[in-house]
Every structure is written in structure tokens, then in C-alpha cells.
């Protein structure tokens, strides 16, 4: 369960402060599929980064499974990201000159104990996104859709509770977008919590709940989007 209380975030550029998030309160249950929407600059990526413990708010609290994350030190936060959260970014963020398999293995390097069956797990993760025949391909040899699927496999390798995806289809064509959304649907059915940041209504429709951000606040909390479509 993700509990967000009175989160505020202000960036200061020069001497001008910009309020990006202005008191966000939110509860996301385990196994939910949530889409965060909003126009550019409304703070949806900032909110996602805060939920993913990549960024800290100026004010407020975040609890992941009843753990107050701001009471954790930097090492514990790293460990939490490693075990509980899988990230999928718009720009894929795969390591260049590195094979798909090695990219997927990356989070395992930072686990407390590197598993003996790491390669098997990575291959299984790649197979789950339909890339079992691309394990030894380098990042520059894969298409955009394939790169994003490698990124999803990487996010899944540690079997995290939450998948955080920031505009995961932003750089993809419609066919690849459908493939990625199908994977998210399947992961949701498997019981994972999925939070997708998007400005695309078609992507958001796949979620159970749509949060509309406007001027740093949740303007709309639609809980019936998936059933409606």
C-alpha cells in the first residue's frame, strides 16, 4: 500500500520558487492499476519520482507498506528501490554497448546476495515480454518497442510490488504501444501494483483509476475508467 500525505514540492530556480505539487493526498492499494494524467508541467513526473523514492518532497509524508520512507537513510532507500519498485522510463535508459540480458541483470547486481540463478531469471523475464530470442542483442540492435520491453523485463527481475512507468509509450509507435499496454494489463492481472504517468488518454484508459493533476493538485480521481471502457 502506498500512502501519500500532504506532499508539496517546490523547485527554486535562481531566486524564483516554483510550486509543482501543492498538497497531494493519495492512497494506492496493493494490486491497483493507476494512471496519473495531466498536461505538461502539472507535476505528474515529479509525483512519480517521489513515489519511486528518487526525489524527496519539500513537505509531506510517504509510506510504502506502512514504512515511513523519509525515516530511512540513503542506503535503505536504495535497498527499498531495489526490492520493491520497478521503473520503466520514457527514454528506456538501457545501458549502451550492453546486451539485453546484461541490462535485465542490472538490478540483481545491487541485491544483498547475487542469486545463483540470475541468468535463468533474466532470461525468464525477457521471455515474459516476448524477447527470449533477443537476449544477446545489444541495445543499438533493438527497436524502440523492444527496448521498452527490455526495460520492463529489467523492472520485473527483482519481482517488485510496484511498477512505476513514466510515459512508457511516449516514444513508441501504436503497435509497440499496444504490446506494452498488454504487458501492463497482464502484470496487473498477476497482482502487481502499476502506476503509469501519461498524458495519453488511450493509455490511461487501461488503468483502474485515473488521477488528473492540475496545478499541482489532484483535480479528479476517477475510479471507474477501466470498467467504463
Amino acid at each position: 500500500m502506498i500512502k501519500i500525505k500532504d506532499i508539496e514540492k517546490t523547485y527554486t530556480k535562481g531566486s524564483v520558487p516554483t510550486e509543482v505539487l501543492r498538497g497531494i493526498n493519495l492512497l494506492i492499494q496493493r494490486g491497483e492499476y493507476v494512471a496519473i494524467m495531466g498536461t505538461s508541467g502539472t507535476g505528474k513526473s515529479t509525483l512519480m519520482n517521489i513515489i519511486g523514492c528518487l526525489d524527496k518532497p519539500t513537505k509531506g509524508h510517504l509510506e510504502l507498506d506502512d514504512v515511513d520512507v523519509y525515516k530511512l537513510n540513503d542506503d535503505a532507500l536504495s535497498s527499498l528501490r531495489n526490492k520493491k519498485i520497478g521503473f520503466v522510463f520514457q527514454q528506456f535508459f538501457l545501458l549502451e554497448r550492453t546486451t539485453a540480458l546484461d541490462n535485465v541483470l542490472l538490478p540483481l547486481i545491487y541485491t544483498d546476495k547475487y542469486p545463483a540463478d540470475a541468468n535463468h531469471r533474466a532470461k525468464k523475464a525477457l521471455a515474459s515480454v516476448g524477447l527470449e530470442d533477443r537476449t544477446e542483442y545489444y541495445a543499438n540492435e533493438l527497436s524502440g518497442g523492444q527496448l521498452q520491453r527490455v526495460a520492463i523485463a529489467r523492472a520485473l527481475i527483482n519481482d517488485p510490488d510496484v511498477i512505476l512507468a513514466d510515459e512508457p509509450t511516449g516514444n513508441l509507435d501504436s503497435r509497440s504501444t499496444s504490446e506494452i499496454l498488454e504487458i501492463f494489463n497482464r502484470l496487473h492481472k498477476e497482482g502487481r501494483t502499476i502506476i503509469v504517468v501519461t498524458h495519453d488518454q488511450a493509455v490511461a484508459k487501461h488503468a483502474q483509476r485515473i488521477l488528473e493533476l492540475k496545478d499541482g493538485r489532484i483535480a479528479e480521481n476517477d475510479t471507474g475508467s477501466k470498467s467504463k471502457n
Binding site: 519520482n49 519511486g52 528518487l54 526525489d55 540513503d74 542506503d75 536504495s78 535497498s79 528501490r81 531495489n82 526490492k83 521503473f87 522510463f89 535508459f93 545501458l95 549502451e96 554497448r97 550492453t98 546484461d102 542490472l106 538490478p107 547486481i109 545491487y110 541485491t111 547475487y114 529489467r154 527483482n158
Partner: protein, 405 residues
């Protein structure tokens, strides 16, 4: 993150950036090679000079007529001084308790002729004791004895350069040559000794009995130097004092300055060793600068890597890398680069030293201690110069790193 995993990871990253890694490794390797080669050459030069001094003989004191000064590291006699005589050598032998043997010497450049060949070379008048004191060995034929010296026999012992130049490499023993206008019989050939510390070729000379030289050839009553062998190296200082006092008295110098110069082999060795040590230190210091340049190369490459790989750092942090994991990874990369640089530099240094000696004709000494030190120092330099980029990389906030354009 396990160290073995971190090493594998760093190796993969370095392999992925082959050109950058190779350039950085070579900058460090050049530094290590320079240190190893320069010190090996410096030490070679030091040994060469010390060997030359030892080759003069052991526990030796040399008394030169007049003042001998060092010009460009080589001896120069200021003027012809006529005060040093054979009787001084006899007195030293008789009155100085720590002296074993003396060998007076006189020399002059003269024309030498054999059949139609002729050349100008150093004619050195010596006593038979010179062969023992100065380690002069006979390769062919024989030397001459005190009877031949006392009776002023016209016998000559020639150097190997004379054999080559005058006799075209033929065996000269038994042949008659002319030194100036006087006929001499070649009794023997000296074993080659090469160039001495003063740059004089010891094989381009002819030894004849000193009495013959003084009475039948150059017709002088004075000599240029006396080589004196002392019982042991501890007696060198005492002997020098005894000789100085004796000659001072014999030459009736009273308050006047010495008309001779005494060179003590121990002092000479110490001076040469010190100057060679300074030379090695100087050369080593210059080479060490290139070592530091290699370290700065690592610093530059790792800082560039830190800037170029901000997103990678951000990603690693996002998927669970702790600050110390990033720091360890960057430190290991610097260490591997520096270690490889040190390793290749050491091998290149050994090879260069070998080929400089073989092909270039330089006298070198493989400096294994410096090679080992270079290897260790390169790793230390890698570590020191890697600290800043590693710290910089590890302190990047994940979100800041991921936002890098």
C-alpha cells in the same frame, strides 16, 4: 555489491569503451615505462663509472704533478710541472707505512711507426709494479720485468687499438716498431680495458719501461703521476696524510701550496656515486612527472566518464545501487586502468631497457625494484586520482542524474 561482481562490472564497462580505456592505459603505461627505462639507464651509467674507477686498481691513491682540476667531469692538468720525481715514488714506498707498492708514470704523445704504417699515440713509461697495481693484464706475449726496466730495455707492450690500427689486427709480438726515432721490440699485447672515467681510451697506448722512457726517449727527470696501492681501504685516509706530509717536506714547500694533487680512490668513488645518484634522482624525477601526467590522464578520463555517464549513474541508483556501490565502481575502473597501465608500462620498461642495451649500446641495469615500485605506484596513483571522480559520481542525486540531457 560483491567485490568480484563489481570487478566484473567495471571490466565490462571498460571493455565497452575500448578506445578511451586504451588511451588512458597507455598514458599511465608511458609514465611507468619512462621511470623504469630512465632509472635503469641512470643506474647503468653509475655502475659503468664505478667499474671504471675499480678498474684503475684497488685501494689506490694517485699523486699527480701540479694541479688537477675537473673540467666537465674529466681531469685536466693545468701545466707541465717538473717537481714530481721518481725519487718521490721511492720515498713514498720507503717511508709511508700503509703503502704496499708504488708505480711512477710518465707519458707523452709520440709518433709510432711499423713498416709503412704510422700513428700518434700515448707512450706511457711505467714500472713493472704498474701491471699489478692497475690491473693491467697481458693477452699475448709478456710484460717486462724490473731488470728490463732498470737496464732501460727497448721493449713495448701495446694496446689492442694499436694492434688494429698499426698492425692491421696481426699478432705484433716480436715485431720491431719505432717510437719517435728509437727502435722498440713489441713484447706483448695488453688485454682490452676500454675507455676510463676521464674518457681516455686505455687500449690506445703503448707501455714501455719508465727508465727507458725517461733516459732514452723523452729525456726528462720528472714524472707526471704516481699510483700508490695501500694495504686496505681503511688506510686510504691515513696514507693520503702521510704522502701529503712527505711530499710537502721533500718539495720544501713550507707555507706554499701543494705542487701536487692527491686523489683518493674512496673519495673518487664516493663522489662518482653521489653524482650518479643525483643524476638517477634527477632523471627519475623527470620520469615521475610523466607518471603524474598519467594520473591526471586518469582523472580527466574518469571525470569525463562521470559527466557522460550521469544517466547511467542515475539508472543504477534507481535500480538499487547505493552511493558506495557507485563509488566502488568508479574507483575500480580507475584502479584497473592504472593497474593495467602499470603492468604494460613495466613490461615495456623491461623490454625498452633490454633493447636500449642490446641495440643502442647503452649500459643499463634492469631495475626490478623500480619496476615493482612503478607497478605499485601506478595503482596508488590510480586510486588517488580516482577518488575525486568516484566521489563526484557517488554524490549525484538519482533524479538529477536521470534528468541529464
Amino acid at each position: 555489491m560483491k567485490v568480484s561482481k563489481a570487478i566484473t562490472l567495471s571490466c565490462k564497462i571498460l571493455t565497452a569503451h575500448r578506445l578511451r580505456t586504451a588511451l588512458c592505459v597507455s598514458s599511465m603505461a608511458i609514465g611507468v615505462t619512462a621511470v623504469v627505462v630512465m632509472v635503469s639507464m641512470g643506474r647503468g651509467a653509475q655502475k659503468l663509472v664505478l667499474d671504471m674507477i675499480h678498474d684503475m686498481g684497488t685501494n689506490l691513491i694517485v699523486v699527480n704533478a701540479g694541479h688537477v682540476t675537473l673540467v666537465g667531469g674529466r681531469e685536466r692538468q693545468s701545466a707541465i710541472v717538473t717537481t714530481l720525481r721518481p725519487s718521490d715514488a721511492d720515498a713514498i714506498q720507503d717511508y709511508c707505512t700503509s703503502v704496499v707498492e708504488v708505480a711512477p708514470e710518465t707519458s707523452r704523445k709520440m709518433n709510432v711507426q711499423w713498416e709503412s704504417e704510422n700513428l700518434t699515440t700515448e707512450i706511457v713509461g711505467v714500472t713493472p709494479s704498474a701491471f699489478r697495481i692497475r690491473n693491467i693484464e697481458i693477452e699475448m706475449g709478456r710484460g717486462f720485468d724490473s731488470v728490463e726496466n732498470e737496464s732501460g730495455q727497448r721493449v713495448a707492450i701495446v694496446g689492442t687499438v694499436i694492434v688494429e690500427k698499426l698492425f692491421n689486427g696481426e699478432d705484433p709480438v716480436g715485431h720491431r716498431i719505432r717510437i719517435g726515432s728509437a727502435p722498440f721490440e713489441v713484447a706483448g699485447v695488453m688485454k682490452a680495458k676500454g675507455v676510463d672515467a676521464n674518457g681516455v681510451d686505455r687500449d690506445d697506448r703503448i707501455l714501455i719501461p719508465i727508465k727507458t722512457a725517461m733516459h732514452r726517449l723523452v729525456r726528462t727527470t720528472f714524472i707526471q703521476k704516481i699510483h700508490i696501492q695501500v694495504t686496505n681501504s681503511k688506510q686510504l685516509e691515513l696514507a693520503e696524510t702521510e704522502i701529503r706530509e712527505l711530499l710537502h717536506e721533500r718539495h720544501r714547500l713550507q707555507d706554499k701550496p701543494d705542487d701536487f694533487t692527491i686523489q683518493n680512490q674512496a673519495t673518487l668513488i664516493q663522489t662518482e656515486r653521489e653524482s650518479a645518484r643525483i643524476l638517477t634522482l634527477l632523471v627519475g624525477s623527470v620520469a615521475a612527472i610523466s607518471f603524474i601526467v598519467g594520473g591526471i590522464g586518469i582523472l580527466a578520463v574518469m571525470l569525463t566518464a562521470c559527466r557522460e555517464r550521469r544517466r547511467e549513474i542515475g539508472l543504477r541508483r534507481a535500480v538499487g545501487a547505493r552511493r558506495r556501490d557507485i563509488r566502488t565502481q568508479f574507483m575500480l575502473e580507475s584502479l584497473i586502468i592504472a593497474g593495467l597501465g602499470g603492468f604494460f608500462g613495466a613490461i615495456l620498461g623491461i623490454l625498452f631497457t633490454f633493447f636500449t642495451s642490446r641495440l643502442g649500446g647503452w649500459y643499463t641495469i634492469q631495475s626490478w625494484d623500480i619496476t615493482g615500485a612503478g607497478l605499485i605506484l601506478s595503482t596508488v596513483i590510480g586510486m588517488v586520482f580516482g577518488i575525486y571522480p568516484a566521489t563526484k559520481a557517488s554524490t549525484l542525486e538519482p533524479i538529477e542524474a536521470l534528468r541529464t540531457e
